[in-house]
């Protein structure tokens, strides 16, 4: 079991051009759809936005982690975007966002192993030094290295 199982290169865009939050979510949902992780873009985006209403998903440090539990998800996944220029987002430290991780989780019958992987991935994002490295990476392989190298307690 490896992070690459949920954060696949096909759903990573390290040079995304987007001007606002909805554009990022839509573009990442496109990637998830093309990769066969979700069945409906509209339904999934609706579920993500529903979660957005409940409170900020910008965790500070230029990172946002929007997520949706949705019936449209068929493969637990994390899509990732690094943005060409920072965009506004509801964040805990008031800073804009440069990296977005969009979590896709089915509403039911989720595999625990993959959920565990998601929780470990989230835990890595709690470390400032990991974020620093993620802000610098240029290719998907390096991303996996960042996640693998960080020891977490989760």
């Amino acid at each position: 079991m490896d992070f690459v199982e949920v954060l696949r290169p096909a759903i990573v865009d390290l040079q995304m051009e987007a001007n606002h939050k909805q554009e990022v979510i839509t573009k990442l949902a496109e990637l998830l759809f093309a990769d066969g992780a979700i069945l409906s873009r509209e339904e999934y985006i609706n579920d993500v936005n529903e979660r957005e209403q409940e409170g900020p998903t910008g965790i500070g440090n230029f990172v946002a982690i929007p997520h949706g539990k949705s019936d449209s998800v068929v493969k637990i996944s994390v899509a990732m975007a690094k943005l060409q220029s920072p965009i506004p987002w509801e964040t805990l430290d008031g800073n804009p966002v440069k990296i977005v991780f969009l979590f896709a989780v089915p509403k039911q019958n989720s595999s625990n192993e993959h959920l565990k992987l998601l929780s470990q991935l989230a835990a890595v994002l709690a470390h400032d030094d990991s974020i620093q490295l993620l802000l610098e990476v240029q290719n998907p392989e390096d991303i996996f290295e960042v996640f693998k190298s960080q020891k977490t307690s989760v």
Partner: protein, 103 residues
Amino acid sequence: MNIIGVTACTAGIAHTYIAKEKLVKAALEMGHTVKIETQGTIGTEDELTRQDVEKADIVIIAADIKVGGKERFTGKKVIEVPMQMVIKSPKALLQKIEEKLKG
């Protein structure tokens, strides 16, 4: 301090685990011992045992939703904080708690 706690968020996918990690990291860096239970989509992990609770100086509940098993902490010093506070400034939170406990 001997810190124990529970984290839980609405979706139980991401914030629960980020909050745990932030609390653990901050606590260890400040020289405390720490154990945090997560109540997320996977279910309860690192569940706090009766011994954990007995030994604890403080119980931190960081949640946006109702957490299960609060009765375990009866008689302990329990502090409930929003998830956001733990993610934003875990060290400041622990400092404040430490000051309060010292009275």
